[in-house]
């Protein structure tokens, strides 16, 4: 009898090595499927069970997932771009030009990084609009909305810091204007400006600071908050859908919004 691909896959899944990595093993019972999610370090952030309706396109339009997808593209292309880029003056500009015209696939990677960055900002806003207009930010999910706002800020800061790195005229003047906005902060605006740029002008120190922020600090912060954001979906009762909401939570949400409406009157 000829073996199908799924037979081979079942055989692979019953080997000792596979079982040592994925302890849930073979089988497609509800328990096995739940264990496969629960015992995986990445998947255990998510619910072990979801309603079919919740993973349909119309519920969420997959906007959060798509945002995360662009983030993954940005991490991968960003790491590759780092291999040819020196964050120094004036080498940074020459490296950007080299990436564009000399390095094989450099233009593709740079453009992919740029377009994904644009797409990520767009998708973050689309995701927030979807969550807002569906009312999915309401209790018990209010804290996950706050984490989402933090992630929005991190996304915008990543865009801003990445803008300086090509070290061209557009980058220079955009960061000059942007950092001068920071000096409008009352009392210690000038100090914020100085710390941000590592000097009084957009110069080598500023380039290096923005590089470290863009490539290390902000991505790490993003990964941390993305993990909490995903985990809170499960902890706050799964993805939001008005019809499938348990009656008690729906009632609580109703009371909370009523109380808020009363407060604001």
């Amino acid at each position: 009898m000829a073996k199908t691909i799924s037979n081979y896959f079942d055989e692979l899944r019953s080997t000792r090595v596979w079982r040592s990595v994925f302890r849930s093993g073979t089988g497609s019972s509800t328990l096995h499927r739940a264990l496969a999610v629960q015992q995986n370090v990445f998947l255990h952030l998510f619910s072990t069970k979801v309603r079919r309706r919740m993973v349909s396109f119309s519920t969420t339009w997959y906007l959060g997932t798509l945002t995360f997808g662009t983030f993954l593209i940005l991490v991968i292309t960003g790491i590759l771009l780092m291999l040819y880029y020196h964050p120094s003056v004036p080498q940074a500009y020459a490296d950007t030009k080299d990436l564009q015209f000399v390095v094989s696939s450099g233009m593709f990677l740079r453009n992919l990084h740029r377009w994904s960055a644009h797409a990520m900002v767009f998708l973050v806003f689309a995701h927030m609009f979807k969550v807002f207009y569906r009312g999915a930010y309401r209790p018990p999910r209010e804290f996950n909305w706050v984490i989402g706002v933090i992630l929005l800020l991190i996304t915008l800061l990543l865009s801003y810091t990445g803008y300086l790195l090509p070290w061209d005229q557009l980058a220079f003047w955009a960061i000059t204007v942007g950092s001068n906005i920071a000096s409008a902060v009352p009392f210690f605006g000038n100090r914020v400006h100085f710390l941000m740029l590592g000097g009084n002008q957009v110069n080598a120190n500023a380039l290096l600071r923005f590089y470290v922020l863009h490539c290390v600090i902000l991505p790490l912060a993003a990964i941390l908050f993305i993990a909490v954001h995903f985990w809170r979906i499960r902890k706050d009762g799964g993805l939001y859908s008005h019809q499938s909401e348990p009656k008690t939570i729906a009632a609580q949400a109703g009371q909370a919004t009523a109380a808020l409406a009363k407060d604001s009157q």
């Binding site: 003047w173 204007v177 001068n180 906005i181 710390l195 590592g198 110069n203 120190n205």
Partner: protein, 163 residues
């Protein structure tokens, strides 16, 4: 002391017990350490030496600037202006958000390309979002007869250098 007074136990209960004392001591030391770390972090992040161009610029001989002329030096971002009253130097950095302005000889104004601020030749704002006029910069003639400008020192307007 043979007789322990009976109020002692009541007093000790009001006083810190040893566990609480050490907890507070630990927490206090950690707070002091955290505050110190903040200070060190701030100091570490502010560079003590800057490799930026000197604020003092040698603008060359005054004869290089004919009367009734406005000359922008893009490297130092200053205007050297020679009028009937004398010479003066104006910062070319827009007071709004730091873009470099440009002299428009056909209109006789200084204009910022970023957000549309407009200034007179004397730096007075006539239009746009700039909150302050363009500052006049300290200008003097060196011993060699060169015009010198200190970009870090603003002076009151209408102080011309006469030669």
């Amino acid at each position: 002391m043979p007789e322990e007074n009976p109020t002692a136990s009541a007093e000790t209960s009001k006083r810190l017990d040893r566990r609480e004392f050490f907890a507070k001591l630990g927490l206090g030391s950690l707070s002091i350490a955290a505050a110190g770390t903040m200070v060190f972090a701030y100091q570490f992040l502010s560079p003590n030496v800057l490799y930026e161009p000197s604020p003092i610029v040698n603008a060359g001989k005054p004869e290089g600037y004919p009367e009734d002329s406005v000359t922008l030096d893009v490297n130092s971002a200053i205007y050297l202006i020679h009028t009937k009253e004398g010479y003066f130097a104006l910062s070319a950095i827009c007071t709004h958000l730091g873009c470099m302005t440009a002299w428009k000889p056909e209109l006789g104004i200084i204009a910022c390309p970023c957000h549309g601020s407009k200034f007179t030749r004397e730096g007075q704002k006539t239009d746009g979002p700039a909150p302050r006029p363009l500052p006049w910069l300290r200008t003097w003639v060196s011993d060699d007869g060169d015009l010198m400008v200190d970009r870090s020192t603003d002076i009151r307007p209408m102080q011309f250098v006469r030669i």
